[in-house]
């Protein structure tokens, strides 16, 4: 089946070769972990542990406060040595629990359930909720919320997002190669929870090995289809992925469920499988540590709360000066000011860019109206107009140009020959007006 893609998009250098052939390996056990109580979109958790309390690996340390929320669990066993505010990747201070690792790796509540496919959808949902699973592609939206659509929004399709269209990142790629069975089983769980007939796994066609691996794992599964998609950033954006695979367009400001689709990330599917089968909470994930500024790029299975500085140490350190350290991918990730920041459920990668790869934005030119950004905007917006309106302070006017339809994929700023900080200007405008 050939797919016609969404309109627009760009082809940045993908640089995946730095880490794509590095099998997943475990990070050295951290001496301590800093676990933010807010790693997801939605209400932060309330801490349920006290200072000096001993906790086991997998024990809940923060309980969800509200429907759109997800519990957090201890990723190591040991003692709670601090509860307070710590810096996160977005540069904000967030309530966090610090646990000193006693090195015993003592688990709580693991329980194998080989007959997991016979659980009822509600039982599965409960396990996913209790495991604290969130979207692991970056946005960290609580998974169980996506799996509990309101009655008036029937779902008929589940899509696993294996596009991994961000340059440099290879965590999902490695999972697709090394844990294809878990990916497919995770998808089957999602299919059952949502009561749909079909599930798709969308993979960009620049990852033929992953397509092959999953096709093999999905052999004989009538409900699962592995799709090889055109390679184009941002193919992995929910709306773009849905458009490419189903032909449906999510209307402005609407959600995938409005076109009867639920999208989940590859890592999330593996976490869903592990939660339903073993009752394992989301306490570790694969993080790609890569970039020209890293001596030995790796795909590291990392405990949530491990500091970025330790990941980098595990990869032989950083080379050069004037570096940029990014949490996530280079198109949509956050630049870190410090390495003493914990890995969270949404951290897909740590990318260290050398100075030569960074375009400094100390000065930028005027918009020359070349129209490149309009040609490539996957949302069909006119980023040039948005940037001009925002620059001049006409924030209300920017709304008529679809300000809040922009999901900040960064394609416009990538192609802009005047090097205008279009995404920054759009964020500024968004912060100044109500949708």
């Amino acid at each position: 089946m050939a797919f016609s893609s969404f309109r627009g998009g760009i082809h940045p250098p993908d640089k995946k070769e730095l880490s794509s052939e590095k099998p997943i390996s475990a990070t050295k056990p951290p001496a301590r972990v800093i676990i933010p109580l807010s790693q997801h979109l939605g209400a932060p958790c309330k801490p349920v542990v006290t200072m000096d309390q001993k906790v086991k690996k997998g024990e809940m340390i923060g309980e969800p406060a509200g429907f759109v929320s997800a519990p957090v669990h201890a990723s190591v066993s040991g003692g709670v040595i601090a509860i307070g505010e710590f810096l996160n990747a977005m540069g904000r201070m967030v309530p966090s629990v610090v646990i000193e690792n006693d090195g015993n790796e003592e688990w709580s509540m693991l329980k194998d359930h080989p007959d997991y496919m016979n659980l009822s959808p509600d039982e599965m949902r409960e396990k996913i909720r209790n495991a604290g699973i969130v979207g692991m592609g970056g946005a960290a939206f609580p998974t169980v919320v996506k799996l509990s659509p309101p009655k008036e929004k029937p779902i008929d399709t589940v899509i696993l997002n294996g596009a991994e269209c961000e340059p440099y990142l290879t965590a999902d790629y490695r999972l697709m190669l090394e844990k294809p069975f878990e990916v497919v089983e995770g998808l089957k769980v999602l299919i059952k929870v949502l009561g749909v007939q079909r599930g798709f796994i969308g993979i960009e066609n620049n990852k033929p090995e992953a397509v092959k691996s999953l096709k093999k794992a999905a052999q004989g599964e009538n409900s699962v289809e592995v799709c090889s998609l055109p390679t184009k950033y941002p193919q992995g954006a929910e709306k773009m992925l849905i458009k490419t695979i189903t032909g449906r367009e999510v209307p402005p400001r609407a959600l995938p469920m409005d076109v009867r689709v639920v999208v989940q990330n590859i890592s999330t599917a593996v976490a869903v499988f592990e939660a339903v089968r073993y009752g394992k909470p989301l306490i570790e994930r694969v993080v790609t540590v890569t970039g020209e500024g890293i001596y030995q790029p790796k795909n590291l299975l990392t405990k949530i709360g491990t500091l970025v500085s330790q990941l980098i140490e595990d990869c032989g350190g950083i080379k050069g000066e004037n570096l940029k350290v990014i949490s996530g991918g280079p198109m949509m990730g956050f630049a870190l000011s410090s390495l003493e920041i914990p890995v969270t459920k949404g951290t897909s990668g740590i990318v260290v860019l050398a100075e030569s790869d960074i375009v400094h934005m100390e000065s930028f030119g005027p918009c020359i109206r070349c129209g490149r950004c309009i040609d490539i905007c996957p949302m069909g917006l006119m980023p040039s107009m948005l940037s001009i309106y925002a620059e001049k302070g006409f924030y209300e006017g920017a709304k008529e140009y679809g300000l809040f339809d922009c999901f900040e994929c960064g394609s416009c700023a990538f192609v802009c020959p005047s090097k205008r900080p279009i995404v920054q200007l759009i964020r500024l405008a968004k912060s100044q007006v109500k949708p």
């Binding site: 367009e249 950083i318 940029k324 198109m331 949509m332 870190l336 390495l339 802009c416 005047s418 090097k419």
Partner: protein, 331 residues
């Protein structure tokens, strides 16, 4: 482990950028005009070289001095002033006295571009306003056309009429008579062995540059094709002397500033619409107005005024042809 003591660079995403820059675009377009400039020098001699050089130098200097005077950073490195000067020079008659180059450059850079806010903010194509100012202020000097000598001599060449001038004053029969036969007329128009502005005469040289611009996607087909297509259709329908549908579209496409205008002037990013759909309307408007002026107006040539008039409509066209939001109107 030793961690660098220097702070990390922090900025908003995206953290990688394409290597395309405004300067590279401007210098590339200038480079694509080189074949036409060389042909201009070949046909019209040192006078032409001097005129074009003066325009380039005066334009770049105007921009630099204006920005120095206003204590702004100089932007001459971005190549846009160079390109404006080059386009202006290529749009002047070979025999234009040196002060026309200076005045035209001043009007183009200072009045049309800088006083409106500089690159990106001008409403009209600077080089064309520079030329229009000269055409209106010095009508005589701007319509003295040297005969192409192709001998690179310093002597003042004989003057003659442009093909469009002959067409306007004496009709198509005379034009063919002047060039011998129809085939020879086409040949001369395509190579550029005819009277006209320095850089507009050689269609083949211009098309080589245009092909590169299209190949590099610095321009797209939308404006040139709708411009030339509309002009050709109108020339064919009402360009004939006897009845409808007897006009000669090729003659109109390859004479005057049609090729130069359609590929290098109407496609100016700043002064044309941003949306592809709007660009087609814009190009069609340019073609229509050009032919209207050529066939029914007082001037033998209409490219310059046509583009300038459409420049004025570009913001309005942009308003009418906005992008379609993803998901809008679909469920």
């Amino acid at each position: 482990m030793e961690i660098t003591k220097k702070p990390f660079i922090v900025s908003v995403s995206p953290h990688i950028r394409s290597d395309e820059t405004t300067a590279r675009i401007m210098w590339s377009v200038s480079a694509c005009l080189l074949p036409a400039a060389v042909m201009g020098a070949y046909f019209f001699g040192p006078r032409a070289v001097l005129t074009v050089s003066l325009c380039v130098i005066a334009s770049v200097l105007s921009e630099h001095l204006y920005q120095k005077a206003l204590k702004k950073p100089s932007t001459v490195r971005d190549g846009s002033a160079f390109l404006t000067g080059l386009l202006l020079g290529l749009n002047l008659p070979p025999s234009a006295p040196f002060y026309l180059s200076l005045i035209g450059s001043f009007v183009a850079i200072i009045i049309t571009k800088q006083l409106f806010g500089g690159l990106g903010y001008n409403i009209f194509n600077p080089a064309l306003i520079g030329r229009a100012f000269l055409v209106i202020s010095f009508p005589k000097l701007m319509t003295v056309w040297s005969e192409p000598t192709a001998a690179f001599i310093l002597l003042d060449a004989k003057t003659t009429a442009t093909p469009l001038g002959i067409l306007k004053e004496e009709g198509p029969a005379k034009l063919i008579q002047v060039f011998g036969d129809q085939l020879n007329l086409y040949a001369q128009l395509i190579t550029g062995h005819r009277a006209g502005s320095i850089g507009e005469t050689s269609a083949v040289a211009l098309l080589i540059g245009a092909a590169f611009l299209l190949y590099k996607r610095y321009i797209t087909w939308h404006i040139p094709l709708s411009f030339l297509g509309t002009a050709a259709v109108i020339a064919w329908i009402i360009g004939g002397t006897d009845s409808l549908f007897t006009g000669d579209p090729l003659l109109h496409l390859f004479s005057g500033g049609m090729i130069l205008g359609a590929f290098f002037m109407a496609t100016d990013y700043v002064t044309s619409p941003s949306m592809k759909s709007g660009q087609i309307v814009f190009g069609a408007g340019c073609g229509f107005l050009t032919m209207l002026i050529r066939l029914k107006g007082g001037y033998p040539e209409g490219v310059m005024f046509a583009i300038l008039i459409m420049n004025a409509f570009a913001p309005l066209i942009d308003r009418g042809f906005q992008s379609k939001f993803f998901g809008a109107g679909k469920k």
